[in-house]
């Protein structure tokens, strides 16, 4: 117990990093995933192929491999200073690269969730949109996607929860997020192992509960508009 209290600043910083990873990756993967999903339902065959290829590649590759690849490949492409700061917080190049790796990986799952949402919107909606003269992009953006998002909130919530847990994988690349801190402390304070495990686990539980709560809230809010 003492360790938890004594090392609280370190643990807190670890969770800050976890939450930042989650926020950035969540946002970026949602943007990429939505673009990929619009590729996959587009009338252009080459875009569809691109979307399918992306999803198959990233969904079938273990996250550790995606991260290892990102960490070894991205810097060789000339991006070797990807560190940045927001206010007083500094993010290292390792953080950015790991965060991008998580985003690319998660985007494949986001894409599939949104695509199934799009398919759940009846074809008549898109036809009606096209009948009033909307182009493919407009009908997707104004009519199909807003309805698809409603159907997609439960699966997206699960994806973000998985993402929250997946952030712990970047520990092995030295990004000092919560799981990294846990490993470090458990090596240091072997007598307090259980307290450390439980303390860190509780932190993840809180994060997951917040994501679920937001999902439930959004679902309710959008249901009212139906």
């Amino acid at each position: 117990m003492d360790t938890l209290i004594q090392e609280f600043p370190q643990i807190r910083n670890g969770f800050y990093t976890t939450v930042w990873l989650l926020l950035f990756s969540g946002l970026i993967s949602t943007v990429i995933g939505t673009v990929l999903a619009s590729f996959r339902v587009s009338p252009v065959a080459s875009l569809r192929a691109l979307g399918t290829g992306y999803v198959n590649t990233f969904r079938n590759t273990p996250l550790v491999l995606v991260l290892a690849l990102a960490i070894s490949v991205i810097p060789t492409l000339g991006f070797n200073n990807l560190g940045f700061s927001i206010g007083i917080r500094d993010f290292t190049t390792f953080f950015t690269v790991a965060m991008l790796g998580l985003s690319f990986y998660t985007a494949a799952f986001v894409c599939e969730a949104i695509r199934s949402g799009v398919n759940s919107v009846s074809a008549g909606q898109a036809e009606a949109a096209r009948s009033v003269g909307m182009g493919f992009g407009q009908s997707l953006r104004l009519v199909v996607l807003p309805q698809a998002f409603r159907a997609v909130i439960p699966p997206l919530t699960s994806i973000y929860i998985a993402l929250a847990k997946n952030t712990s994988v970047v520990a092995i690349f030295g990004v000092p997020e919560a799981a990294y801190v846990m490993r470090k402390l458990s090596n240091q304070f072997t007598s307090d192992l259980w307290a450390i495990f439980i303390g860190i686990a509780l932190g993840y539980v809180v994060i997951v509960m917040v994501i679920s709560a937001i999902g439930t809230l959004l679902e309710r809010k959008l249901a009212v508009a139906a």
Binding site: E127, V132, G133, G135
Partner: protein
Amino acid sequence: MTAAARESSTASSTGPLVVLDHVNKWFGDLHVLQDINMAINRGEVVVVIGPSGSGKSTLCRAINRLETINDGSIMLDGQPLPQEGKQLANLRAEVGMVFQSFNLFAHKTILENVTLGPIKVRKLSKKDADELAQRLLDRVGVAHQANKYPAQLSGGQQQRVAIARALAMEPKVMLFDEPTSALDPEMIKEVLDVMVDLAKGGMTMIVVTHEMGFARTAADRVVFMSDGQIVEENTPDEFFTNPRSDRAKDFLGKILKH
């Protein structure tokens, strides 16, 4: 296209508004439209009738290019239907479509259903679009429902909103694909009344329907389709009282028994 340009293009072409010339379409091996030739004049109301599977919906959808055709040509106001992109979108804005299943935008209010096209496609200001929509909703008798969502309206009301939504684009021609066949009997009349009004107002209309009352009151011509072909064309009175082809006699015999 600006309103002025639209007017001048309307004024410059005086031939039939819609012309189908040797149109053929296949779904795989199924020859759904077989050498269809048809011309619809400005202000004309054509009712398309025929057994299930005869290709009536496909015909409507081809005119709006929701379905492509394999062969032949379709002209709207002297222009061939564009293949894709912006021009195709413009064409669709000029052709109003009313579906059997209404297809109102489920996540938009009634008012927004009508204003979405004018704002996003015709680039009207929200204020102008709202005024236009209110006027049209009033015309179809659902003005007091403007802030509800489609699911809160009856089928008849939804279909009238769908008509208002199409009218808001100021189309040159309106296509109706069995607009009343998903409706409870007591709601059919309210929708047909709106359509009769439109017809009297000079709208060019192609209407797939089995409502003989509507055909007799509003149609200039009945086109009878069977197995992908136009089998017979006539005035409503002639067609219903004196069908010439055996297939039309057979078909009318069946629907008149109901």
